[in-house]
Symmetry: C2
Subunit: 232 residues, 2 copies
């Protein structure tokens, strides 16, 4: 494990209570007592969610709630938060049992994501619950990465990922894609793909399987979001 000083320097925050930052990196397998990251992660989850939503609402005052929700579900996903944790080499600081270490758990996206959230809660508590300071530090480090991600075509157009994030989060299930037809001559094939989720079915057409899947996912997202709206 590296000393935390390097990380403090990188982040630009010096912890008054060094136990707090240690706690943020301590997995339950390393300490079953309350000296692990679980409660910090509970607070950090709410904090990171709030700071991320904040960035979105400030940066895109004209986007609709549906689009913002879709962006958020990617930006607070395990996958994305783990990537932010990795960008600061968080895996080097994780305290974990030998058994878990051998399994490579310190590189497990779920644990990296937990630690990332716990770390921000630790700064927040250590600074005397100073939301403004924590938010400005978070934005200093990640706002540009977040906005870049939002503006990149990859996120904008990746309806399959967005759909899966939503269905996993809400129902712990994934949609299924099937190619149902391939028509036309070799050089101008048209693929039709169906997307199945619960009792819903959408289709998409395109000149590649990938493109047809994106279309089907986009249509499914639309239906799910309309259904959620109707519940209000």
């Amino acid at each position: 494990m590296d000393s935390f000083e390097l990380l403090e320097e990188k982040i630009g925050y010096r912890f008054k209570d060094k136990n707090l930052v240690k706690k943020a990196f301590t997995h339950i397998s390393f300490s079953k007592s309350s000296e692990n990251y679980e409660v910090l992660e509970f607070l950090g989850d709410a904090l990171v969610n709030f700071m991320t939503v904040n960035i979105l609402v400030e940066a895109f005052p004209n986007k609709k709630e549906g689009e913002l929700s879709q962006l958020k579900s990617f930006l607070i996903s395990e996958e994305f938060l783990a990537s932010l944790a990795k960008s600061l080499n968080f895996e080097k600081y994780i305290l974990i049992s030998k058994g878990e270490e051998l399994k490579g758990s310190n590189k497990n996206p779920s644990i990296l994501c937990d630690v990332f959230e716990a770390f921000w809660a630790a700064i927040y508590i250590d600074s005397g619950y100073d939301c403004k300071l924590t938010k400005s530090l978070f934005e200093h480090h990640f706002k540009s990465q977040i906005l870049e991600m939002v503006n990149s075509n990859s996120l904008k157009q990746d309806y399959k990922t967005a759909l899966q994030e939503i269905t996993q989060k809400k129902w712990k299930e994934r949609p299924i894609y099937n190619v149902i037809s391939v028509e036309g001559p070799e050089h101008r094939k048209t693929f039709t793909v169906e997307c199945l989720f619960k009792d819903l079915r959408t289709t998409g057409k395109g000149n590649s399987k990938k493109y047809a899947e994106q279309e089907a996912a986009k249509n499914m997202l639309q239906i799910i979001q309309d259904n959620e709206k109707k519940k209000t």
Copy 2:
């Protein structure tokens, strides 16, 4: 509709931008343009969640993450937030189409909850994104109600409600309870109840159906929380 001044007085906050508070109370049926509460509610959802978790973590530093999660899922439930909205007569301020008004939608817990969240986002934005001010206002009005709710036996022991909140939120499904046996003499009956959720089954025994259901729900909660843990 009452003027907002009365509400501002009650809350102890004077809006610089009166359109913002109006927007927080405007349902999409009243204004399809962006002048409705949808984006504010998106921000407010994250804000109220964060402020609530904050209160819990500060007030109960020794509770475990599992118990805090359980408390949180009740405290940010539609039911509870709508009750806070009602305590400030929010239904009087909601701007909604005539059609929705006739249906009584301004008393719909889902809309009251949305408006409650949007209102706190409106204060937060109006104050120049002042998290500290918003948090202290929120705590001034609701901290004691929240802590009372946590400390009351009703919440502590209502495992059925806690379980349902979690299963509804995560899987949009409710557990099922069946009495499977009633044994013993009339004055000392023992009820056994099963609780079914997805492919899981737990049982509980007690000298009333209600008590046996609570036991079964408590056991189911335990299993679900353990399963969630294992995913980490």
